[in-house]
Amino acid sequence: MSESNPTHVSPEQATVLLALATSRYSAGLVRRTIDEALLLAATGAAVRIEVLYVDEDAGVRRAGATLKDDGFLGADPQESILEALAESHRRLARDRIGQVQELAAPHGIPVVVEEAVGEFSPLLEARAASGRYDVILLTRVQRPFIARLLLGSEDDEIARLARGEGEAKVVITEPD
């Protein structure tokens, strides 16, 4: 897990951004989100949690393309597979967002959910740079060490953006 030092707390309104995706989820991260929200609430701020859930449909499209290009199956089997996979993604999203809402409810912390489809990093980077958040939480995605060494860490870039533009505290955990 990595963190940056908290430097900015609004005395009136505090917002925690929990960034989740198909490949980025951790039950521990959700619990940590609630903990961070409660810490902010203890300062007297009106806290809310914003959940950004990104359905990374690239995996679904890749599976469909593999079935066509490597498996040589036609449009009809592909269609039923894509629908089954998309439904699996929707179920995952409902389940995970539901867990956040379930944990936040007893503490009276409002949860605002935004669902998006596409790539996680660009969507989160735009929000991280906005300066609206006091804390940003996400999990790492598993990438081979060589890829991270050669191409850099997307998560470190998000943390840099958030600290540089918005002075937010950034928490990055390992996935389950």
Binding site: G71, I81, P175
Partner: protein, 469 residues
């Protein structure tokens, strides 16, 4: 659709032809013919494009087929004649049978009835999914089995309301995927790569002036099915260890299966027709000689249309006919390497002296298994089998044995989403991640490799399958 970045696509799209040109224009080495040099240049282009897929696999095969006469590797008539081989027609039949099984719903019916009977515990249900996925490959090509089973397995996961990282959810999905991977080695109908391998073997014999009987349906299964069965047991054990049961109540899953079975209704005319055609095809393949397999498959396909089990429009929607181009071109390119002497020259220059036959056997099997994790099975066979047969010959292993070893080893792809469509499908669900498959999949693959080599060395000779010359 390429699975790589646009940058890598551009590099390979340009790099492939550049490397091809570089090999073609280089001074011809001693011992290599001009035609052989051209064949190597074409194979290099195909290898890069099959690996990196800047264009779809069939397009690469077409490019290879066209370049063979264009660059002087083979006369035009010879290159195009290689396209019209028995394996192509067998593969057409294989995919049409799979299409009929899917379209009529017969495969789904049999699967639901089977699973409904074996849902008393988590372990039993997961093992039932594994066994069913494996056994279905007896008559349906493995990719089609995966496509048929995935919605059924996902509906069970939904019915049980399993959380995202549930062990049972992951075990169910991987049971389906690994079951089809293990099942892809059951018979010639289980995967198209087996018939590709046998065709390359036949061309190798013809082009190198060797005489031997072609390999028949039952003879192929005699060597491959026991290994497939052992692979199944290894997969089952590995999944049970890595994903132990969670103590779930299976009533919701049973209720869901009951609903789906009830919705099936009585067997349709199309399903009965499919049973008759498939049964007839299996019997005919068992008793017909090897040279008749393609004809039997075609006749079975014609029967499905003549009996109105499926229409041509429906068949078109179930099969990607690029498979014909992929296999036709791949066989032509692979055969060209042998026919021009390129393989012989290559092996002369790469093979160290006095390497024991067992080591060669293991090395070939390992290379095929490794390559198949990142490239399509058929591309891996086309690239490696001609070399493997020549290598084996020098080390005292029959090309016939290599014609089994290569496609079976290509079926040990358990780890990565790039390895086979079944694995890509379960990754696409969002439930299974690399952490679930890389380590266990690698261990399973290594054990299976050992089983294959030991079987080839010790068991096949006892079954009358000559391995050592």
């Amino acid at each position: 659709m390429s699975s790589h970045s646009p940058w890598m696509d551009r590099v390979s799209l340009i790099g492939g032809p550049l490397l091809c040109a570089a090999i073609l224009l280089a001074p011809t080495p001693d011992g290599l013919t001009v035609e052989g040099q051209a064949a190597l240049a074409v194979m290099t282009l195909c290898m890069i494009w099959w690996l990196m897929t800047p264009v779809p696999l069939p397009v690469t095969s077409l490019a290879g087929l066209a370049l063979l006469p264009a660059l002087g590797a083979l006369p035009t008539a010879d290159a195009l004649a290689l396209f019209g081989n028995q394996a192509i027609f067998f593969v057409i039949g294989v995919f049409l049978v799979a299409a009929v099984m899917l379209r009529t719903g017969l495969s789904a019916r049999l699967s639901l009835l089977f699973l409904r009977r074996l849902s008393k515990s988590e372990a039993q249900l997961c093992n039932a999914v594994l066994l069913l996925s494996w056994g279905s490959c007896l008559i349906v090509v493995s990719h089609a089995v995966a496509a048929m089973m995935l919605p059924i397995v996902l509906s069970i996961v939904t019915a049980l309301d399993l959380p995202a990282r549930s062990r049972t959810a992951r075990r169910l999905l991987l049971s389906m995927a690994w079951g089809t991977v293990a099942g892809s080695n059951l018979t010639l109908l289980s995967s198209a790569r087996a018939s590709l391998s046998l065709e390359l073997y036949g061309q190798f014999l013809t082009d190198s002036g060797r005489a031997a009987a072609p390999i028949g349906f039952l003879e192929y299964s005699l060597a491959s099915a026991p290994i497939s069965l052992i692979t199944l047991l290894i997969c089952g054990a590995a999944l049970a260890v890595v994903f132990p049961p969670e103590g779930l109540d299976l009533k919701p899953a049973v209720a869901r299966l009951d609903q789906q079975v009830a919705a099936l209704g009585p067997m349709s005319r199309g399903e009965w027709g499919t049973v008759a055609v498939v049964a007839g095809m299996l019997v005919a393949m068992g008793i017909a000689g090897p040279s008749w397999l393609g004809i039997v498959a075609l006749l079975a396909s014609v029967a499905t249309f003549a009996l109105r089990i499926v229409s041509w429009e429906e068949a078109e929607r179930y099969v990607n006919w690029g498979v014909v181009l992929m296999y036709g071109g791949a066989i032509a390119v692979g055969a060209a390497l042998t026919r021009t002497g390129a393989i012989s020259w290559l092996v002369d220059n790469i093979m160290p002296e006095n390497v024991p036959a067992l080591v060669i056997l293991l090395a070939v099997a390992a290379m095929v298994t490794l390559l198949t994790e990142v490239v399509s099975n058929s591309a891996a066979i086309t690239i490696l089998l001609p070399v493997a047969m020549e290598l084996g010959l020098r080390a005292g292993i029959t090309p016939r044995a290599m014609a089994w070893v290569a496609p079976i080893a290509a079926g040990f792809a358990f780890a990565l989403p790039t390895s086979t469509p079944a694995i890509a499908l379960v990754f696409g669900s969002g439930v299974v991640t690399m952490r679930d498959t890389v380590a266990p999949g690698t261990v399973v693959a290594l054990i299976c490799l050992g089983v294959l080599v030991l079987s080839a060395w010790l068991l096949w000779p006892l079954l009358g399958l000559a391995v050592v010359i």
